[in-house]
Amino acid sequence: MTFTWKIGGEAGFGIMTTGLLFSKIASRLGYYILDYVEYPSLIRGGHNAYEVCVSDREVTALKKEIDVLVCLNEETFHKHKNRLTSQSLVLYDKEEFDFTDNFNKVNVPLKKILTDLKGQAVMKNTIALGASLSILGGKIEVLLDLIAEQFKKKGDEIVRFNQQFAIAGYEEVKKNYSASIKNFLIEKEEKKEKLVVSGNEAFSLGAVFADCRLYAAYPMTPSSSVLHTLASWQEKTGMIVRHSEDEIAVINTALGASFAGVRAAVGTSGGGFSLMVESLSFAGVAEIPVVVFLAQRPGPATGMPTWTEQGDLLFAIFSGHGEFPKIVLAPGDQKEMIDLTLKAFNLADIYQTPVIVVSDMYLSEGHKSVERDWVDKIVREYQIRRGKINLSQKENPQKLEIFLRYKITEDGISEKILPGTAGYFYQENSYEHLEDGHTTEEAKPRKDQVEKRLRKWQTYLKNDFQSPKFYGNENAGVIFISWGSTKGIVLEAQKRLKEKGIETGFYHFNHIYPLDKEIVSQFLKKNNKRYLLVENNALGQFGKILAMEAGLDFGEKILRYDGRPITVEQILEKI
């Protein structure tokens, strides 16, 4: 059983908090969730909506039909009724508006309850949550617990005051609609403890697990909640979280901290990343590790700030002037976000170069269930690998000595000791330099250093590159290719096609760049198979990378660039 619950209302009235509460309720009752938010780039007056897809199995994509639509205003009904079916329930307040369409009505006097209980406007949401739980057959205690946790610092009275709105909504439905109650949210007997995490929260967790000690950012949707999350934890974790004056300061603060020896990261979206790229090139030549979290939104320029797109892939891969190695990773879901963030910090240190973790609004702001025991395991097994960054005090030389920070090596990676190490000194340099860091314009050392830096890519491909993951049937005639956040949508499309008797295969890339030419062209051989490229952009950007790196050109593309995530149906139509 899989169903979608969706709530909508005016921006500024707590839709986001309410949606997340619903996700947590479903999770605590033993279900898996995937959720998605829609909101305009303004604080008041627009339309906000939040949908949660709930199932007893892992949910990897949103569902077309809405099973329960909670309308806190009339606009919600009109905006989303095209996704309702004759089976759908519409929870609304008749006093606010009414409709004649043939959907199942659940009329809850939100306004009246609110007035009777002397509540504030946002508490309408709590009534609606109680009513939702009631009509879905869930138990109210889970919601009451969540309210208690949310308000416990404010005292029992405030907790009870808030809880009464949930109870009122719950009882109202039970009283008037007992015949319509569904069994969608009956508490599961066997439950696995699960986290409800967004992509941004997954990155934040990964950064803490990886012992990142400085995170700098300038607010920019959809990356900002990483800044908020890490900042809210900083007194616990000891991480320094800095909101600098602009993105140029952001990345340079991180580079300074990394130069001094701590793991450092920055987060932004396309516009902010544009401001950072000169410094990314600096990190490349000076060989300073840094992790860049790039949460894409539709551009160009200010674009559509609160919507989704995979439009910055080529920009990320080619960011920064000059030729230097960088590594680009793109997680497919929240689990991969934790996993790849942990790897990103290791790779940045091992290769002493920038590592970009690419997300997008759909992955960054949507929540998904992640099993607790999976998280515990990955944390337990994680090993911090700092490569040739020597944290211990090196043995003192006889007299003060210049350290060869950029010593030519076979793998391209040079030892780094920490600034402050007694007996030595060195400089890291944005100019081309000699092995000892001094500036040079001589031809030979220039050539040697360029080659040394670029050898890091070869070492990475040999030691740390991971091939695309394959899902489905290897003998299938239809093969999907995608990267990053489209993973779950393609997986769901594969499932549906299989139900119809159509076998498919799917290569999903999350180690995006550099690519191992040999491996990639071996996977994607020219043969009679039908290859379909799935990307949330207009140009098929990853397809261009495959063409460039492995000479593969795919004629068939499933693309979307209207700010919305690709849908399962969009893929099914093509097959």
Partner: protein
């Protein structure tokens, strides 16, 4: 104890007579007199003739991009606040390209010492006008004379909350050494704006020009009087240049106000945080 020789890297490539020689020597002498050796200090350089000091001064150094030395210096200080951190920058570098960083570093009272080579021109790119040049200054990029009025670095720093603002002159080495020493020892953000004639590209702001217009603040000058400091700073607008510590205020620096660093252990020396359950419980 380290010597001037220990701090000396390559032979400088500055033009003979350039004010940068004086600043370079003053920095080395100040560090020696403060008992530091090259393995105990972090220096960030911007890009310009000033930044070229990277090859002439031995230290744990970061030769940054044009304009970005200040945020790099802030990052180093946050990661390891036990290291003294100095930013050696130029006027175009710090007040032009990196102007935003400069303003916000003053506000933040980050414990770094910013030594600005103020010569009114971009020396390394052959003499275009810098933000500190007088109105009407003619250069390759402003053949008819610059339209803008000059930046006043001292008042800019003061009104944005800098807790230490000083001005030195590359032609007065001993005085400059003492200013740099005081600046490094100051807790919080310190600006030392150094008037530094560019003998090749600036034929207006010469040694003679400055010698006629600089004067030293005397012993009785009250360094903690903000209004008086502002008054002194504004004298620059009339081409009168006070030398000395214009303003000094005792206040907590940025890192001292971070709860994460309350135990005075530097970020890099702290134990790794592993109580993940405290975070994970929030997602259940």
């Amino acid at each position: 104890m380290a010597s001037i020789q220990d701090f000396s890297g390559y032979q400088p490539t500055w033009c003979p007579g350039c004010g940068d020689w004086g600043i370079g020597m003053a920095i080395k002498k100040a560090l020696v007199e403060l008992n530091y050796s090259p393995d105990q200090v972090a220096v960030v350089f911007g890009i310009g003739c000033s930044g070229n000091m990277n090859d002439f001064l031995n230290a744990y150094a970061l030769h940054s991009l044009h304009g970005r030395a200040i945020p790099n210096a802030i990052g180093i200080k946050l990661a390891n606040h036990k290291l003294p951190v100095i930013a050696v920058v130029g006027d175009g570098d710090c007040y032009g390209e990196g102007g935003n960083h400069f303003i916000h570093a003053c506000r933040g009272n980050h414990d770094i010492t910013v030594i600005v080579h103020d010569n009114g021109v971009y020396g390394l790119t052959t003499g275009q006008v810098a933000p500190t040049a007088n109105k009407g200054f003619k250069s390759k990029s402003t053949p008819a004379g610059i339209v803008e009025v000059p930046i006043n670095p001292l008042s800019l720093a003061l009104v944005n909350g800098a807790s230490f603002v000083a001005q030195g002159f590359a032609g007065d080495l001993n005085h400059l050494i003492s200013l740099i020493k005081t600046g490094i020892c100051h807790q919080g953000f310190s600006l030392i704006n150094v008037l530094q004639p560019c003998v090749t590209f600036n034929k207006i702001n010469t040694y003679q020009y400055y010698l006629q217009r600089v004067y030293k603040l005397d012993e009785s000058y009250k360094k903690d009087d903000f209004k008086l400091a502002l008054e002194k700073a504004l004298q620059i607008n009339e081409e009168k240049f006070p030398l000395g510590v214009i303003y000094e205020k005792k206040s907590l620096s940025y890192h001292q106000q971070l709860p994460q660093l309350k135990d005075n252990q530097s970020l890099i020396d702290k134990e790794r945080f592993i109580e993940y359950d405290k975070l994970i419980s929030g997602f259940i």
